[in-house]
Every structure is written in structure tokens, then in C-alpha cells.
Symmetry: C2
Subunit: 158 residues, 2 copies
Amino acid sequence: MEPEAKKKVLRMINYGMYILSSRAESHLAAATVNWLSQASFTPPLVMVGLKVESDTFATVKKSRHFAVNILGRNQKALAQDFFKPSSVEGTRINGHEYGNGKTGGALLKETPASFECKVTDIVERGDHAVVLGEVVEVTINREDTPLFMRETGWFYGG
Amino acid sequence: MEPEAKKKVLRMINYGMYILSSRAESHLAAATVNWLSQASFTPPLVMVGLKVESDTFATVKKSRHFAVNILGRNQKALAQDFFKPSSVEGTRINGHEYGNGKTGGALLKETPASFECKVTDIVERGDHAVVLGEVVEVTINREDTPLFMRETGWFYGG
């Protein structure tokens, strides 16, 4: 398998973009992710790929909960603000207002919607772990079309 | 958690669309899927949610391999042809020309690109199983922009 061909083909997979957050005791972590999909209707499960050597994954593993904030069509800049390490100041994380979800993660006020999960399974096989979570809470802030990663010009995959 | 709100929020997750195929001995299965994402760079892994009570999942479980055909922007009709049970006639599956992948699954001639995987892990937790596979082969047929499920007007999720 030729590495460039593999990269080209895997970059044809389409993604949305999300800010995933988790709290373990007083530590609040958040990061932009795109390797995320629903994985069951009953119970409602989602699966997400998280970098094994990341603060976010360490926090999810400890807390066994995470929140997912769904980015709207014009929120590319918001996605970018969560490429860097998490920094909390008062009621803001990385400069953006948030509230505490029922399961501890940050629910951003600016994103159209969020959901919260309880971790059911973790598979550590590659450089990203597959985390499976059951959706236990949802929050709707406003109507919006969700962001397509392809429209941002960024790629994470390949 | 209110069921309608849960459905609305989970339907904001963005997806591409794919035809997944697998062969176990003489049986060739194929079905349209959208719950699919990359899950690791090294090794290159993908994760896919497959309905537990489906011919495709039974075949993947038996063969421990699958092929993924990536649908192009104008291939909504092709996606629809694989909502029904698989039917092979000569070199066509559900009416579409295919070749046999190195790992046995059907590689459609019409789709822009395909990749093949060896199953590494299966998590059976909900009504869909999470299948994790290592990408072992890729095929590129032509340039195209991949299909967004949102543009088809269909939803599979919620």
C-alpha cells in the first residue's frame, strides 16, 4: 500500500467538527475532534477517536464521561481556539463562555447544540483510542447547519 | 432526556456515505453505511457501526475483513441500490460492476475510491456493533468530491 494513495483515499471520508470536553475532579479538558459518529440507536451510542497521548483522553478515561459540542457552519474560528491546550478563566474556557454539563464537561454557549455521554467501552489499539459512550443528556441552544470539515480546508485523517 | 431533542441533536452529526462489502467463502454481502470514521493514523484504523442483525455484519464477523467504497457527490442513486439485500449476477452486484478486492469484498468500478480492512476489534454493545479495522489496501479510480449525507436529504442517526 503506497502511503500517498492511502492518505488520499482516507481523506475522502467526510466529517463534521466538534469540541469534546471532560472534567475529572477540578480539571477541565476540551479539544476539537472530528473522528466521531453515532454507533447505535438503542441504546444511543456514539464512538469517538481520541489521541491516546492527550489531556482530553486522559481526562475522559479518568472521569468516564464526556460532552460533545457540535460546531455550526460559521464556527471554524471556534474550532481553532480548541486546537491549543485548555485554559479556564472564570466562566470561560479558551476565551469562550461555558456552563457545566450534568456530567461535568463544558457546554459551550456559542455552539448550536451539545450532548453528554457516559463511557461504556474504550479500545486502545492505535495512536487514537476508540471511546464508546452512551448519550445521557442533550442541550439545544439554537438552529444552525453543522460545520463540514471539508469546508474548512483542514484535514485530520489520512 | 426528551426523545425528540435527542434525535434532533444526534442528527446534527455530519457523515459521508459508503458501500461496505465483505465476502465469507462464496457469500458476498454489501450495504450502504454512514457511521464510519478513521480511528488511528498508526496503524491506520477505521471504525464503523454495523447493524448487528444484518447480513453484512454476519459476513464481516465471519471473514474478519471488509472493503469500503467511497461514494462520490452525484452517487445518491448508487447508495440507494445498496439499501436492499445483496444480489450478485456475474460481475455485477445489485446491478453494478465490481471486482474482487484482495481481501474478498466487492470493489465497485463506479465509485471514486475504495479501501480494504482487516478486522482488529469488534465491540457488541448496542443494536449496531462497532467494528475496528486496519486499512491494508487502497484503490483509486478517479477524482471526485465525496458525498455528504446531509445533501441527500436522508438521515441515519438520531
